[in-house]
Every structure is written in structure tokens, then in C-alpha cells.
């Protein structure tokens, strides 16, 4: 569905400064996949998506989207994809239903068919009662559902979602995802989304592509990434009277144990299977005469993956506060 080779985008900011937003991305996405592109702000996620959706032209490299080259035939690409950008696709001065009907006509439906399609989509995204409402008067969650409806008017085989849930509260995020996953099943769609919500990439995507500094630094299922790049951890607190060093030696005997560290009465280590290790450790420590006060099995998160890959945490930056970093690249792009 998507094939890129050496996809690159440089933005010339000034005579002396060029931003290398995307540096040679090779990506293959098969039909039916749901792929999340994850990375910090300014990593090149949006720039990549903007190249794939014909909004900006690559500096070099190639990209084929839905079987068509993005540079040679951008208008054919546009006909074959759906795109939900970071902003609101629906004009704030327009009425919800009018925008959907117009969008249908843009894709070649006649007026009657476009109206029917509008009705279906409003229904599918719980917007029917808001059909005649001005878009600017809708709530953030309602507007976002309308944006998704606009992207689905022509039932595209491939849908791009650029930070679809940024700025929504948890309830609205969950609600939007319910709609997206249901519509995906009904339409048999391939979905590519960018996000900086770790849990979103973790629970929704079947494949996670981690991007940093304009390059793909990891590409696997969320579980696969966690298993290979982060791994389980155990965190043990030694009871008063016990010795952490003694516990540490016990931990070291576990299969797959590494990175054992001692900090006061706390012992931390990476292990192959934390949940199975905990009861074993509790018993072994008791038997050795240095009982544990607390034993935690810690499953890795995608943030641990990112930390392992880059030495930086994705959580360091709030999703809102650092938006400007991405904006800067985009402005250069737009």
C-alpha cells in the first residue's frame, strides 16, 4: 500500500540553515495494516505524512502510495487516500452536513449520492443531530469526529490520521477510537497514524514505527519492540534487617537477569519474565534470611523502548507544550 525508498525532506530555513526534517526513510506498509508512527515532536512524523499525502514534495527519494508515485501523479494519490490532518478539516464557518456533501461531490458523487453518503457518515459517527450546526460551534470531540467523517467520504482504501486525538480528553479519545476501529473493519482500510500518545500507539496499532531525527529507528509490533528493546523489570525493596547486596546476588541467578542495580534498600534488574520471577524471588530471599518488603513486576512501555533506543524519554515533553517544534517544521513545509 505504501513503499518509500530514501524518502528525504530538507527545509531551507535561511541561507545558512537547512533543517533535515526527514532523512532517508524506507517504509513498506501492506494492505490492511494499522501502523502508528511514533516519535517526539519534530521527529519528522508529520513531514513524512505530508509527503505521503502530496501536501509537500520530497527533496529526494521515492514514495508510492496506493500504487501511485506521489511526485508523478499527486492527483491520483489524492483520489485514492483519505486524510485527516492535525487541524479541523471542516471549515468553521460551514455547516457540518454541507461540508460532508461538498466533500462527496469533490470525489465525484452526484448531489443525491453525496447527500445519502453524508447521512450515513453522520449516523456512523454519532453526528446526525448536529448536521445543521455550524462547525465552529461544535465541541472539540464532535469536530474531530466530523474530520474523520470527511476523510472517509469516498471510502478510501488508505486513511492517514495525523495526530487524530491530540487535544481530546480521555473519554473523547476512546470514543473516537471506537469509531475508527469499527469503520476500519467495515471498510477494510489500511490506516497510518502519527501520535505522540504512547498508550495509543501501544493499544491501537498493530505495528509501531519509531521515528527520531527524521529516521526510522525501530519498526515492529508494540510487544515485539518491548520484548527486544526494553524487557521486563523487577523492582524489589528489602525489609528492615535484610541486605540489598544479598538480594542482588539472588537476582543475578535468575535466567536472563541483567543490569542489576542496588540503590539503598532497592534492587532493580531486567529479567526475562518479571511476573514469574517475583514469587521465586520472594521465596528465595526469605530462605536466604533477607525478606522482601515489596516486589514489583514491571512491564515495559513504549517509552522504555524509546529510552532504550535514544537515551531520551518521550515523556519529557508534554504533548501540548512542545507542539511548536513540530509547527516550525511544518511552517517551513507549508
Amino acid at each position: 500500500m505504501i513503499h518509500t525508498r530514501g524518502l528525504t525532506k530538507d527545509f531551507v530555513v535561511s541561507r545558512t540553515e537547512t533543517v533535515h526534517a526527514v532523512r532517508g526513510i524506507d517504509l513498506d506498509i501492506a494492505p490492511g495494516e494499522l501502523v502508528a508512527v511514533l516519535g517526539p515532536n519534530g521527529a519528522g512524523k508529520s513531514t513524512t505524512m505530508r509527503m505521503l499525502t502530496t501536501l509537500i514534495r520530497p527533496t529526494s527519494g521515492t514514495a508510492t502510495v496506493a500504487g501511485v508515485d506521489v511526485v508523478a501523479e499527486p492527483s491520483t494519490v489524492r483520489r485514492n487516500i483519505g486524510y485527516v490532518g492535525q487541524g479541523n478539516g471542516a471549515g468553521h464557518q460551514q455547516r457540518a452536513a454541507d461540508e460532508l456533501t461538498m466533500q462527496g461531490q469533490v470525489y465525484g458523487l452526484d448531489r443525491a449520492a453525496a447527500r445519502r453518503r453524508t447521512g450515513e457518515l453522520l449516523d456512523a459517527l454519532d453526528l446526525t443531530t448536529l448536521a445543521r450546526r455550524k462547525v465552529g460551534d461544535l465541541s472539540g470531540g464532535q469536530r474531530r469526529r466530523l474530520d474523520v467523517a470527511l476523510g472517509l467520504v469516498h471510502a478510501p482504501r488508505l486513511l492517514f490520521l495525523d495526530e487524530p486525538t491530540t487535544g481530546l480528553d480521555p473519554h473523547n479519545r476512546a470514543n473516537l477510537w471506537e469509531h475508527i476501529t469499527r469503520l476500519r473493519a467495515e471498510h477494510d482500510m489500511t490506516i497510518v497514524l502519527t501520535t505522540h500518545y504512547l498508550d495509543e500507539a501501544d493499544t491501537m496499532a498493530e505495528r509501531v514505527v519509531v521515528v527520531d531525527h527524521g529516521q526510522v529507528i525501530a519498526d515492529d509490533t508494540a510487544d515485539g519492540l518491548k520484548r527486544t528493546l526494553a524487557g521486563d523489570r523487577v523492582v524489589l525493596t528489602v525489609a528492615v534487617g535484610g541486605t540489598a547486596a544479598r538480594v542482588a546476588t539472588i537476582v543475578e541467578t535468575l535466567p536472563g537477569a541483567r543490569d542489576v542495580s542496588v540503590d539503598g534498600d532497592r534492587v532493580e534488574a531486567r529479567v526475562a519474565d518479571a511476573a514469574a520471577a517475583v514469587p521465586e524471588l520472594v521465596l528465595a530471599a526469605s530462605a536466604a534470611g533477607t525478606p522482601l518488603l515489596e516486589a514489583l513486576a514491571v512491564r515495559p512501555t513504549l517509552d522504555d523502548v524509546f529510552l532504550a533506543l535514544t537515551g531520551r524519554s518521550l515523556r519529557d515533553e508534554g504533548p501540548r507544550a512542545s507542539d511548536s517544534t513540530d509547527d516550525a517544521t511544518q511552517e517551513a513545509a507549508a
Partner: protein
Amino acid sequence: MSTITATRPSTATTTGRRPWLADVWLVMTRELRPVIREPFSVVFGLIQPLVFLGLFGPLLAGSVGASAGFDGAEVWQWFVPAILVMTTLFGTSTTGANLQFEMQTGAHERLLVTPLSRSSQLVGRSLKEMVPLVAQAIILILVMLPFGFRADPVGGPLGLVMLAVLGVGLGSLSYALAIAVRKQEWMFWAVQQTVLFPLLILSGMLLPLETGPQWMKVASAFDPLRWVVEAERALFAGDLTSSAVAAGWLAAVLTAVVGLAVGVRTLLRSTD
């Protein structure tokens, strides 16, 4: 909900093109919807020209009327056609702000990813300008009829057509400006205001240029509005065959052609 799959539009996988004019029409009608739903926005645009008519018109008759050879209702014959051009200028030169708003919110980006051609998006937006400006002109004419203003039954409508053509060009330039300065939005108003008043004064809209210095007369020759203002005066007076009318058509059509070309080019280059 299962009906969605059943009605998958046949266009989803086709590569056929829609007629360009149909795209222009779609964009134009989309732009017109908020205008028609909130007609007050059209009336709001009339406040400024009405102030000029009500407060500047009488002064004009008193101060320059005697020397320039018109008085009473005569002044309206000279001033109202110019005010129609002024309304066109004010209305269309600010329209880029609408596009700016849609660039901020994301609607412009969404349309850029649809099969609508770039050129149809700009032309459709610009053509829409005709509707509010002609509506405003008609209201102004109707308001001024009781004061003795006369609109030639043939020249008047032709005058409106000329305004519409001019407005498409000016609107398109305004869109081009909005796209060009999208990284510094405040620049839009800075440039618009800087350009607006020289164009206005050099057009001889408010005061006759005859009394000005030679360099102003020369400069005014490069102001398309000057030719349109003179043509409008001739048209509303029923002087349909005067050379001023021909010059006005040339200026209006040139503004439209250049404006659209600049607009389309700016939009195309903005997505590189």
C-alpha cells in the same frame, strides 16, 4: 451501519477527472454558503462606504463642487460610482483573511488533499467575490436613488459587471497575499493597508486628480482603479461608448487575469 460498505462510492478507485469548471463551481458555492446564511456580513461591509457617502459627500459638494462644476445631485453622479469601486476594493482586498482563517483551522489543508485542482480552488474562491460585491453595489445604488442619483438602465448593469470582474482580480490578489505571508499572519494586514490607501487616493475616487500635481497624475495612470472609476462614472451616466469605458474594461480584465495568474501560481508554489 453496514450500509456504508454497500455504498462505497465507485470513484474510490477510478482515476477519471471531474470537469474543471465543476470544481470551480463547487468551491464557489461552498464559499458562498456562509455569506448567504449570514447576509448581515454583506450589510456590514456597507458601513464604511455609507460613512463616506453621508459625511464626505456633502463636504465634497461644498468644497470642490463649485470649482469642479457640479453641485446638488450632480455630486452623487460623480461620487457614487467611485464609492462602488471603493466598496469593491475594501470587500475584496480583505477576503484573504477568510483563507488565512481556513489555513489556521485546517480546512484549506483538507481541500489540498482532495482531487480538487489547486487552480479551481483559487479561482472558485475569487469568483465568489462577485456575489457580495454586486449585492452591496445594488444596495448602495438603491439607497442613493432618493437623493437624486441616476443609474443608466444599460450602463448601470454593465458597471456592475465591470466591478465584478475587477473584484475577482483584487480578491485573487488578496488570497495570493494571504498564502504568501502565511508564516507571518500579521503581515497580511500590514501589506493590505499599505497598498490600499495609495490605490484609493490615486484612483481619484474621493477628490478629482485634476487639481493634484503632475507626478500624482502620472502615478495614477498605473492605478487600475483610476481607469475603472472613470469608466464607472461614464457608464452610470449612460455614456456607453466613451473611451473611458474601454479603458475601464481593459483595466478590470487585466486586474482579473493578472490577479488569477498570481493567485494560482502562489497557491501552486506554496505546496512545494
